[in-house]
């Protein structure tokens, strides 16, 4: 008994303040949590909207799409449907990721309604070298623009020299950052086809038409 009393005497402040701090944290969290969640959604929407300007809002497709990575790991991703005026489907958007030069690269990818052509990609998170791989983000650089031009969905090929103006499956790499360029192409090659296949299976898009 005496021991307990001693303990409380010594550390009542700690106990009380833990309690108070806990409350403080809980309150702040309670107050800010919705905003934080909304932020994340807003960001995705903003990026996707940048790729699909016709879309008014995005809706998560209920079904989850399962992706198998080249290492054999499976993961679920969410696909968002971009809806224009009058709930018309203007395209699809989803986030995929893979390893880049320095670290993981997370991409937001958009394709058109029929899942036939790319509408472009944007970088959600990357840690590539500034001035090198970082240019995969650069919207004024030829590399990014190649995907914006309605490239047909399918296997892409990375080349180190060629004409970036031409719309074909040959993607001209960023000079000095072949690896990052390759990462983008690889991520797209590895995932977009799978997603298309599963979407078709689930009847969300009409296959092959």
């Amino acid at each position: 008994m005496g021991k307990l009393k001693h303990f409380i005497e010594q550390s009542w402040l700690l106990i009380v303040s833990s309690f108070v701090f806990g409350l403080l944290l809980a309150a702040t969290n309670y107050a800010l949590e919705p905003t934080i969640r909304q932020n994340r959604i807003d960001k995705l929407n903003r990026l996707a909207k940048g790729l699909l300007p016709d879309a008014v809002h995005f809706r998560e497709v209920v079904e989850r799409i399962e992706l198998t990575s080249s290492r054999g790991k499976t993961s679920d991703i969410a696909v968002y449907k971009g809806e224009g005026d009058g709930e018309k489907c203007v395209g699809w958007s989803f986030t995929v990721s893979g390893s880049g030069f320095a670290d993981r690269i997370d991409l937001v990818v958009a394709v058109d309604a029929k899942f036939e052509n790319f509408a472009g990609y944007d970088v959600l998170m990357s840690n590539e070298t500034p001035g090198f791989g970082d240019r995969i983000k650069d919207k004024d650089y030829y590399f990014w623009k190649q995907f914006k031009k309605g490239l047909p969905v399918g296997q892409l090929k990375l080349v180190t020299s060629g004409d970036p103006e031409k719309v074909d499956s040959e993607i001209v790499a960023i000079s000095g950052a072949t690896i990052s360029s390759e990462a983008v192409v690889r991520i797209l090659n590895d995932t977009v086809g799978q997603i298309k296949e599963q979407m078709a299976k689930k009847g969300l898009i009409s296959n092959g038409k």
Binding site: F21, L25, A26, T28, N29, R71, G100, F101, A102, I179
Partner: protein, 196 residues
């Protein structure tokens, strides 16, 4: 075999490619504090390795098995720092009791380690990177500790040579160490992109 391969790669990656000091700026204070004594630096590095591995594992367990499960993410930082402080205390007591000679040799560094951001930083990065298995967390934390030891030992060696160099007065001490660290960080960029 694949897992083993992945673990080895993760370890190497933490030691040379994603070295905490050179790429993440963590643990810079002890880095600046190192003297030209390589044995001291090594002791410090070992102590950090010990604690960082322990804390990496503990925080991984707490984070993934308790906090995430019960939606208590908001308490993450408080928990992490308490775990680290606790781990340091524990290690100190344990060493003092069972390995007095070891305690003598790196016990002095232990209290300093609580405020070493490399430890907390690593725990946070493990979370950020989404490390998804306990063994990977353990290997990565251990690798981080070894990477720190390597960096601090290299720096101690360089400092010993700089003792005899004619460094301009205003750059002696921290400034020249920072510049050296910068050139070192630049040198270690060579390993970037090695493991993908």
């Amino acid at each position: 075999m694949d897992t083993l391969n992945a673990l080895v790669l993760a370890f190497i990656s933490m030691v040379i490619i994603n070295n905490l000091v050179f790429t993440k700026f963590l643990g810079t204070c002890p880095y600046l504090g190192v003297s030209g004594r390589i044995d001291m630096a090594f002791g410090m590095g070992m102590a950090v390795t010990f604690v960082v591995t322990l804390s990496g594992v503990l925080t991984y367990m707490i984070n993934n098995w308790i906090l995430m499960r019960f939606g208590l993410e908001v308490a993450r930082y408080v928990c992490f720092i308490l775990v680290i402080a606790g781990a340091v205390q524990l290690v100190e007591m344990y060493l003092r009791k069972f390995f007095p000679s070891l305690y003598e040799s790196f016990g002095i560094f232990l209290p300093l380690i609580t405020t070493n951001c490399a430890i907390l930083g690593l725990c946070l990065f493990l979370d950020l990177w989404g490390v998804d298995s306990l063994i990977l967390a353990a290997v990565e934390s251990f690798g981080a500790g070894i990477g720190f030891t390597m960096a601090i030992c290299i720096m101690a060696g360089i400092r010993e040579n700089l003792q005899l160099a004619d460094v301009p007065g205003c750059l002696k001490g921290a400034p020249i160490t920072l510049i050296t660290a910068g050139l070192l960080a630049m040198a270690f960029m060579g390993f970037a992109g090695m493991i993908r």
